[in-house]
């Protein structure tokens, strides 16, 4: 379409996230004494530490990284759980909730076998989270919160996210249906 955006939806929802992020920094600064910026990847460190603790508590207690991040249920941990609840509620209300066993773009390229999707996603998850922790954040923490504050680390990391993502996506999904 040449006249006006096809949909204002992502702009409006995005702008409201900007309002939420600002309000969150203000409210958490007042109520908790420390500003809380949106982020998600440290929660995976804390959750991994909690799971490991059930099998090897002394190992977690001695691990420098777990100790520096504090293995506990904090503000961000609850934020991430809240995202799941909010997405569930919103998708039920507007009827966009849909049970899906594998994503269409993936299926076009690799077929619908659950095991193939599981291997690909687990592998991707391992590499991505290792990278996010090395970079010090994910698209929420570095991307959104970093760019809102004009932090150099945010711009560098986000550049890495997109360059790495564009290269691998084009290598992996080329050959899939182009009109997906």
């Amino acid at each position: 379409m040449s006249k006006g955006p096809r949909s204002w939806r992502p702009y409006i929802a995005g702008a409201l996230v900007g309002v939420l992020a600002t309000a969150s920094v203000f409210v958490s600064g007042r109520m908790l004494g420390k500003p809380k910026y949106l982020g998600a990847s440290t929660t995976f460190v804390r959750a991994a530490g909690m799971i490991e603790q059930t099998a090897a508590p002394e190992h977690v207690a001695q691990n420098e990284y777990y100790q520096s991040k504090k293995v506990r249920i904090d503000w961000q941990f609850m934020l991430v759980i809240g995202v799941l609840i909010g997405a569930f509620g919103a998708s039920m209300v507007d009827g966009s909730f849909a049970v899906e066993g594998s994503p269409p773009i993936w299926r076009d390229r690799f077929g619908g076998r659950i095991s193939v999707r599981a291997v690909g996603a687990v592998l991707g998850g391992v590499v991505a989270m290792f990278g996010a922790r090395l970079a010090g954040g994910c698209p929420s923490g570095h991307g959104m919160s970093g760019l809102m504050q004009l932090s150099v680390s945010g711009f560098l990391s986000l550049a890495g996210f997109f360059v790495g993502g564009v290269v691998v996506a084009n290598l992996v999904y080329r050959g899939g249906r182009k009109d997906a």
Partner: protein, 175 residues
């Protein structure tokens, strides 16, 4: 109100907006990396424009504090590239993976499992990385306007102009 309840309320609102922005889906995440559907760029940059102005305006009158992450050039870039590669394969980022499960895309559970493994792996090798990659190019908590020695508002105006020009370009292309 305690920290956990505040986090949960913020998260529920964040989840509703992510879902309503339609950015949780694998198709939107990978679609952007294939330049077929740029929804996540529109969403993220809109959030950044509003948050950037909001946070700097409130900080200017002393109502909020910044929390800038330290810059480690090598780790930011290298970690960023790794993240990007993994992101393309799993089709989710840490925040959207849980949201995707919430809207019924239960296969995102594999991405969550992988990310938990990746976090555990990182915790094991952290001491070696701390002494090497993480220390290369450490510049401290630098900001663009700090590095350039100008007012943040100058940088904010320039960035808003650039982001809006990008939106116009995307809408013209119809992606």
């Amino acid at each position: 109100m305690n920290e956990q309840i505040l986090g949960l309320i913020t998260g529920v609102l964040f989840g509703v907006l992510l879902q309503q922005g339609r950015v949780l889906r694998f198709e939107k995440q990978v679609g952007a990396l294939l330049f077929r559907d740029m929804t996540i760029f529109k969403f993220m940059l809109s959030a950044i424009i509003v948050g950037m102005v909001g946070i700097h305006a409130l900080a200017a009158v002393g109502l909020v504090e910044y929390s800038v992450k330290g810059t480690h050039v090598a780790a930011n870039l290298l970690g960023g590239l790794f993240f990007g590669g993994g992101w393309a394969l799993m089709g989710y980022c840490p925040g959207t993976s849980l949201g995707a499960i919430g809207e019924g895309r239960w296969h995102a559970i594999w991405a969550v499992l992988g990310m938990l493994l990746g976090a555990a792996l990182f915790a094991e090798v952290y001491p070696a990385l701390k002494a090497s990659v993480l220390s290369w190019g450490s510049l401290g908590k630098v900001t663009l306007h700090g590095a350039l020695g100008v007012s943040p508002w100058l940088v904010i105006l320039a960035l808003i102009a650039g982001y809006i020009a990008f939106f116009v370009f995307l809408e013209k292309k119809g992606v």
